[in-house]
């Protein structure tokens, strides 16, 4: 027992990663028989326990550990494969596990009765494996492999209902856009390898890493590397303009959206940037800040105009990821990671609540035999009466998202906004646009999440009459994970002090030296402003959506632009897709007339050559082969004679002798008692004669 409890964190973390993979393999082999999800659930439960007890508790705030094994060699360079456990990676590992576990439990009820359930569990385990592997990988190349696997698992899960045309389109879109990011990632890896000759994270960024030695970070190559990695993070974390795949990815099951597209996979981009943060120079960091701010602003603006409940949440996720990116850009990557951790819980909860609502409405729809969109906010309203628990849970999550005091979101959002302000004071001038935009985003965030709650849960029901009576609370198996996440959305999980983020355990785990000074007055002023503006925006929202005093014209250009997301999708369709089509048509033409012509003439030449070769073959090669053949036959005949007469002869002689002797002596054993007696007397007689004649 003692030895069992003494697993080293390295081995425990390997187990954490491999358990879901084993679950994936078992379910892949068992196929349709394993649709209960028990295997996945057991695997992720064990992973969570292991990562909590043996990895997180052992490594967090202690010395980082790592272990390396050789993988393969190219020329002089050895590629390694390894495990890196430091505060950053174990935190991420633990978050992924602890979010994945409730989602697994929730899925058992949410996905019940789906004909493709066995595939669902298989993919979910594959995803967990890839995501956990990405967290603790030490080599960037291995990270890249897991990065791709995560993208692939996400592709499979978005297109889980592959008979739906829109789901197929959505997963194709997600995959293609992620390819763009992967290209950036690959460029980054190549640039790093060219400069440093290694891809090992410890060798690069460790205490005495290569990055800190006499190295010029402002060189063009390093900017290229930084931009490449950022492009990868942009695609994974859905940053403008590569964010367009995430809203469409909502075609997947809601439980998948909550795990992959809210809490874990989309956070991978932020996680990557935090891991390789020392690599970025000022140019790249500024770009990250700008892109993050633009993303946060635009996505919040779009979210306010969506009618699909999941799309509102999707844009909200993009917007919050923009926040994190902006924080990384100003150098406060600990704040970004803090927000990542709190966001993972409350956004996952928001999605699970939305899933519960959709689940119940879809259920009622089937019973009533009606046809309407169960995800459309315009069909909801007044659900508070039927689903009070879900309402309370979703309200907690919404308060956390809006950054209301006593919630975890309050702490992390303040950490980011205050850091941005301090950064802007340090830089001065036009840099103030960034924090002001972020405050604006915070207000819009409060507004749109208020709008969602008011439209879905308050006011009069807009559901068709027969469906309304069938709506009731979500099953217990879905509620319990939601309770757990709701507890994790409150302040005390992250910090003892509900007002100030300085005591937050996650922030103190990373010692980040800000380039700018701390300004104390901001720490009082900004939380107050954010809370007050959030309250005001809720009052406005309540008047507009619950009391039906809607002052705006729904046909106005602003609202339409919101709903259409400024036409970004159309723009991409009209330009990039069309240009690609034209290019591909041109290449078809090229292929048909020029390449094929070349190929044809080449094939004629080849034909002629092969005729010559045939002639050669027939006369020279065949003759040679025949000579060898005859020689071989002669030799084998000699060998056959030897075998038959000498070897076989000896064997036969021995065998015959043995047979003859046996035959002779067999006659003695004839069963006649008198003969036996006779033999016995004869022998005795011979013995006596011998004794006499001796």
């Amino acid at each position: 027992m003692e030895e069992l409890l003494n697993i080293s964190p390295i081995h425990a973390s390997i187990l954490v990663v491999l358990l879901p993979f084993v679950a994936f393999l078992i379910q892949a082999i068992r196929g349709k028989k394993s649709n209960s999800g028990n295997i996945s659930l057991i695997a992720i439960t064990l992973s969570t326990l292991l990562s909590g007890i043996f990895v997180f508790a052992e490594v967090w705030n202690y010395l980082p550990m790592h272990s390396t094994y050789d993988w393969f060699r190219i020329g002089e360079k050895t590629f390694t494969i390894g495990i890196l456990l430091n505060n950053l990676t174990v935190l991420m590992l633990f978050i992924v596990c602890i979010v994945a576990l409730p989602v697994h439990i929730y899925s058992r009820a949410y996905m019940k009765g789906d004909p493709g359930l066995h595939r669902y569990w298989m993919y979910l385990s594959l995803f967990c494996f890839a995501m956990l592997g990405l967290c603790i990988s030490k080599n960037i190349l291995v990270s890249y492999i897991f990065w791709e696997l995560v993208g692939f698992a996400s592709y499979l899960l978005i297109g889980f209902w592959f008979t739906k045309e829109s789901a197929v389109q959505a997963n194709k879109k997600a995959f293609l856009i992620n390819r763009i990011g992967d290209l950036g990632f690959l460029i980054g890896i190549a640039a790093v390898f060219t400069s440093f000759g290694t891809l090992d994270l410890v060798e690069l960024f460790g205490k005495e890493g290569l990055i800190y030695s006499e190295f010029d970070k402002d060189s063009g190559l390093m900017t290229l590397a930084g931009l490449g990695f950022f492009l990868g993070a942009m695609a994974k974390s859905a940053q403008f303009p590569l964010h367009i795949w995430l809203p469409d990815a909502m075609e997947g099951p809601t439980s998948v959206s909550s795990l992959i597209h809210a809490a874990t996979m989309v956070a991978a981009g932020v996680f990557l940037l935090c891991t390789i943060f020392p690599l970025f120079n000022d140019t790249v960091l500024l770009l990250i800040t700008i892109i993050g701010t633009i993303t946060a602003t635009l996505a919040a603006y779009f979210a306010a105009g969506q009618y699909d409940i999941k799309r509102v949440l999707a844009f909200s996720t993009i917007s919050q990821l923009g926040y994190m990116m902006a924080a990384v850009g100003i150098g406060a990557w600990d704040a970004a990671l803090f927000h990542l951790a709190t966001h993972a819980f409350f956004k996952c909860l928001l999605f699970l609540c939305a899933g519960a609502v959709i689940h119940e409405i879809a259920h009622a729809k089937t019973i009533a035999g009606l046809d309407f969109d169960p995800q459309d906010l315009r069909n909801m309203g007044g659900l508070r009466k039927y689903m009070p628990k879900t309402f309370v849970l979703m309200s907690i999550a919404s308060l956390a998202l809006a950054g209301f005091p006593l919630t975890s979101g309050f702490l992390s959002k303040d950490a980011i906004v205050i850091a941005t302000f301090e950064w802007a004071f340090h830089k001065g001038g036009a840099y103030f646009i960034v924090p002001i935009l972020l405050v604006l985003v915070s207000i819009i965030t409060a507004f749109y999440i208020g709008r969602l709650i008011f439209k879905a849960f308050m006011g009069e029901s807009r559901l068709p009459e027969p469906a309304e009576s069938n709506i009731h609370e979500a099953p217990k198996q879905m509620l319990y994970p939601m309770y757990f996440l709701a507890i994790c959305s409150l302040f005390f999980v992250f910090s003892i002090n509900p007002i100030s983020y300085h005591q937050a355990g996650i922030l103190s785990g990373f010692s980040v030296n800000y380039t700018f000074k701390e300004i104390h007055s901001l720490h009082l002023f900004i939380p107050l402003t954010l809370t007050a503006t959030a309250l005001i925006s809720w009052i406005i929202g309540y008047r507009w959506y619950v009391l039906n005093k809607y002052p705006l014209n729904a046909e106005s250009g602003w609202i339409k632009a919101e709903t259409n997301q400024l036409g970004i999708n159309d723009f991409i369709n009209n330009t990039i897709v069309k240009v690609t089509l034209i290019i591909s048509r041109a290449s078809v033409w090229l292929d048909k007339y020029i390449v094929e012509g070349l190929v044809n003439s080449a094939s004629k030449g080849t034909l002629y050559l092969s005729k010559i070769a045939t002639l050669l073959d027939r006369h020279l090669v065949d003759g040679f082969v025949m000579a060898i053949r005859n020689l071989t036959i002669g030799l084998s005949r000699v060998a056959a004679w030897w075998d038959k007469h000498i070897v076989d002869g000896i064997v036969n002689t021995i065998a015959g002798l043995a047979y003859y002797l046996g035959h002779l002596l067999r006659w003695v054993q004839n069963g006649r008692i008198q003969n036996y007696l006779g033999f016995a007397f004869t022998i005795v007689l011979i013995g006596i004669l011998y004794l006499i004649l001796r």
Partner: protein, 101 residues
């Protein structure tokens, strides 16, 4: 006069006849008779050598002992033959070859 040698020669003759009977006869009863002959040859020897022990007469005593044993063994032998006959319906030892492998 009749010496020990005469007794021994007679005894050897009787033993040989008994041995021949045991080896050659096609009837189990006759084999039993052969055995009896051989035992008697031995008893004759006992008696013949008994003259050298005039104090205890152990030769004569052993002869009597052997005669009693022979009578008992003949009884057992006849019982065996009876059972053999019941089992095989013959007492010709040539036809009973169950000892063969």
């Amino acid at each position: 006069m009749i010496t020990l040698t005469h007794f021994l020669v007679v005894s050897a003759c009787i033993f040989s006849i008994g041995l021949y009977t045991v080896l050659a006869k096609r009837n189990a009863i006759m084999i039993l008779v052969g055995i009896e002959l051989m035992i008697n040859a031995a008893i004759l020897n006992f008696v013949a050598f008994g003259r050298y022990d005039k104090i205890n007469y152990s030769g004569q005593v052993f002869a009597l002992f052997a005669i009693v044993l022979a009578a008992a063994s003949v009884a057992v032998g006849l019982a065996i033959i009876l059972n053999v006959y019941r089992h095989y319906k013959t007492i010709n030892p040539d036809q009973i070859t169950d000892l063969r492998d």
